[in-house]
């Protein structure tokens, strides 16, 4: 994408004199700025959505005053945070205190360099993309430990220590789970991984239900691996039920206790950047990334018809019991189905890969993370470690072995 941008810049007459390397550098800068803007805007939007989602889960309205339906609330909050007084505690380690939040932010922003948004839209098509993302995102723990140590506060220290233990513990199962996918594809390139998930096939190779060739449907082991990864990744980004580094009811605010204003905003920014990153990784690795779930326009029509029937049954049998009828799921799927049958162009667009499907999947995963957060209590630190070392890690190892055996059984690889 950087090269494309550079070529595009050079194609203008008045700019063509600047030389290829200058144009390349300029477009590098533009792309970096775009990624940062994406992360910042993403955080603002996600905070708003999270507040609304939590509000609806808790029978409240959420922000309603600033802007229509409170849409400008997080913008106002962000502005408030930016103009707050810059406080560094007297006894804090000043250098680490200042650097810590930036380390976290940078680590979570630069990972987006390797994330493909669509088949063409990505900053850097790396051949070690997956490795890059996983390794860079683990730098976050360094920033957390710096922030926690520098605060010179016992709560912060507890938060930082918990965080270090937690993130390092969960890196291992998460990494091994991803290796299972890499074993199937034979590449660390994220684009290659997505491209390998195109087309339609049977569920788990043999069960004759036509489903997209996503890795979550590849084998029972990868199906399990998707959940193992989601759990591990939730722990890695410190979200409920694994938010013990912050655990506001125990550690006040964990490693963030002493931070306020801009620096606190940076923590928030990186928290949501990390959540988005995890959602991207889940959809890239297990849900086919920017691939459409439908292989053709007939697929769209039939697929959405089936979805509508499911929605109908769900509305009648599940919602009917609770007497809290919501027509949105049924109505939306009905509208899309009718549109798909009436307008083949729409159906074709739905069946074609693109950024729309990528963002839909990411939104779905992020909603799932929010759902976790507003439903579950928090685990205790030793239960968390137990889960990591005695449940998730063995499961991920089993998945790795199982995938290898599965591929041998289905004939994908021969010895």
């Amino acid at each position: 994408m950087i090269q494309l941008l550079a070529n595009w810049i050079l194609s203008f007459d008045m700019l063509s004199g600047m030389g290829a390397s200058v144009a390349w550098g300029l477009s590098l800068f533009i792309v970096a700025a775009l990624i940062f803007v994406f992360v910042a805007v993403n955080a603002i939007v996600l905070v708003y959505i999270e507040r609304k989602v939590s509000a609806f889960m808790q029978v409240r309205l959420g922000p309603m005053r600033v802007g229509k339906y409170g849409t400008l609330q997080t913008v106002a909050d962000a502005l408030k945070l930016l103009q707050k007084e810059d406080i560094i505690p007297k006894m804090a380690d000043k250098v680490l205190f200042v650097v810590g939040p930036w380390v976290i932010l940078v680590a979570s922003v630069v990972t987006f360099a390797a994330i493909p948004f669509s088949d063409t839209l990505l900053a850097a098509n790396m051949n070690i993309g997956l490795f890059y993302v996983v390794s860079i995102s683990s730098i976050v723990v360094l920033g957390i430990v710096m922030a926690g140590w520098a605060s010179n506060n016992k709560w912060s220290l507890y938060g930082a220590m918990r965080s270090a233990a937690q993130i390092i513990s969960y890196e291992i199962p998460v990494g091994i789970t991803l290796i299972a996918v890499v074993a199937v594809v034979g590449s660390l390139n994220l684009q290659t991984i997505i491209e390998a998930q195109g087309g339609t096939g049977n569920l788990f190779h043999w069960i004759p239900i036509p489903l997209p060739n996503w890795f979550i449907f590849h084998s029972p082991f990868l199906f399990m691996a998707a959940f193992v990864y989601l759990i591990g990744a939730t722990a890695e980004i410190n979200r409920v039920p694994f938010d013990i580094p912050e655990s506001e009811s125990e550690l006040v605010a964990g490693f963030m206790t002493e931070f306020s204003g801009l620096r606190w905003a940076l923590f928030f920014l990186s928290e949501y950047a990390n959540a988005t990153l995890v959602a991207f990784l889940v959809s890239i690795v297990f849900l086919g990334g920017w691939q459409s779930p439908f292989s053709s326009y007939q697929g769209t029509q039939i697929g959405f018809s089936i979805i509508t029937i499911f929605a109908l049954f769900w509305t009648i049998f599940v919602q009917g019991k609770t007497k809290r009828l919501s027509v949105y799921p049924l109505g939306l799927s009905l509208v899309i189905t009718i549109a798909a049958w009436l307008f083949p162009g729409f159906a074709i667009w739905m069946a074609s890969p693109g950024i729309f499907w990528m963002l839909m999947k990411v939104a779905g995963i992020i909603f799932l993370l929010m759902w976790f957060r507003w439903t579950f209590p928090r685990l205790r630190v030793d239960q968390l470690m137990y889960l990591s070392w005695k449940v998730i890690l063995p499961l991920s190892l089993i998945n790795l072995m199982g995938v290898a055996i599965w591929m041998w059984l289905t004939g994908e690889i021969q010895f």
């Binding site: 507890y158 655990s247 579950f376 928090r378 030793d382």
Partner: protein, 373 residues
């Protein structure tokens, strides 16, 4: 092999901390995450209730009692009014007794809703808290309808009530009960049966009956340990002997008898029982009748002393009143349940992790207002 032992650290939890339920300070001696000693430091909310009471007439003490246990003001007022009435030896109209029971039990539901919700909050579940407050809001609406206030009512007076309930109150209370009895299932769905919640609460902070009795723990926390003592049942005061209700006891359904989960679940069960009592009281409520007994303008109980105890949401609320025949109490001591309930924290919280200490503290359901008085 010796256990790895690091230097111990003193951790000050509070007085400003999200989970100490007020201004409580816990001095924790910690070895890593393990807490080896807990010393509660109280008194940050001390408002000299007993000193005030010695300088106020009997009627004027009533609003102060509500301010002690601000989550169960009706219960505190009820206990105080009954103690003074017992000294005076007056009989109350039937309607007063029924209305008092209705208010006390509604207050118990409201108080337990806060306890259940904040316990969820302490272990990290935020949504149940808001669900609980949704129902509590309905109860506060009822209280507001009757007394005009939502938190500190000054409604149950010596010799009766401040004034009668407004028309429509009974119907609205029935409506609330109909809605509430179904919603208890929601708390169980979202919190009680949650696997993570059970992991966090079951087997944590087990309180044996001996420890509980020795420390003077009362109320749902005591009954969670399997001790069948509910003052409404063992010595029915007011008209509690006319109602049919169960006293739930800790069964150890998810772990050991007397663990945090049991203490939490007692409150969920008691809410349903209280709703049952309110329903019966509403059914039997006399339609007509005074809400004030004939009492003198200046209350001068005969010389003597009394220790009167009643079952508040948090446990045994006792009033020790000494009268010298004047219109001002010579001595008024409030035996507040949470005061004794909190003192057990070091015994049952030792050796657990910081997160567990929070959970145990939440399961004891303390209100600092009545601990410090």
């Amino acid at each position: 092999m010796g256990r790895l032992h690091a230097e111990e650290m003193i951790l000050n939890m509070g007085p400003q901390h999200p989970s100490t339920h007020g201004v409580l300070r816990l001095k924790l001696r910690t070895d890593g995450e393990i807490v080896s000693h807990i010393e509660p430091v109280i008194g940050y909310l001390h408002r000299s209730f007993e000193k005030h009471a010695e300088n106020l007439e009997y009627q004027m003490v009533t609003p102060f009692t509500g301010r002690c246990d601000y989550l169960a003001a009706m219960g505190s007022e009820h206990g105080y009014a009954m103690a003074v009435e017992k000294m005076l030896g007056i009989e109350l109209p039937e309607r007063v007794e029924y209305l008092r029971v209705i208010f006390a039990e509604l207050q118990r539901i409201a108080s337990h809703l806060v306890a259940v919700g904040t316990f969820g909050l302490d272990v990290g579940a935020i949504t149940p808290f808001i669900y609980c407050f949704r129902e509590r809001e309905l109860i506060l609406d009822l209280f507001e309808m009757a007394s005009g206030a939502r938190l500190l009512y000054n409604y149950i007076w010596i010799g009766g009530l401040a004034h009668d309930v407004p028309p429509g109150f009974v119907e609205k209370t029935y409506e609330f009960l109909d809605a509430f009895e179904k919603r208890v299932a929601e708390y169980n769905q979202i919190l009680t049966g949650n696997k993570i919640f059970i992991e966090r609460a079951a087997d944590i902070g087990v309180m044996t009956p001996e420890v509980a009795i020795n420390y003077g723990v009362t109320g749902p926390s005591l009954r969670a340990s399997g001790v069948n003592i509910d003052i409404r049942r063992t010595e029915p005061y007011s008209i509690y002997d006319r109602f049919d209700f169960d006293v739930p006891l800790g069964q150890g359904a998810m772990g050991t008898v007397g663990d945090s989960w049991d203490r939490y679940y007692m409150r969920v069960l008691e809410m349903s029982e209280s709703a049952k009592i309110v329903r019966q009281a509403l059914d039997q409520l006399p339609v007509e009748g005074d809400v004030q007994a004939a009492i003198p303008r200046r209350i001068r109980p005969p010389q003597g002393e009394i220790y009167f105890r009643s079952e508040n949401p948090r446990g045994e609320l006792g009033y020790y009143i000494v009268s010298d025949g004047k219109n001002v109490p010579l001595r008024l001591k409030m035996r507040s349940p949470a005061f004794s309930n909190l003192s057990v924290i070091n015994e049952i919280g030792q050796g657990w992790m910081i997160s567990d200490v929070i959970a145990i503290l939440g399961s004891l359901d303390i209100v600092l207002g009545e601990i410090d008085r």
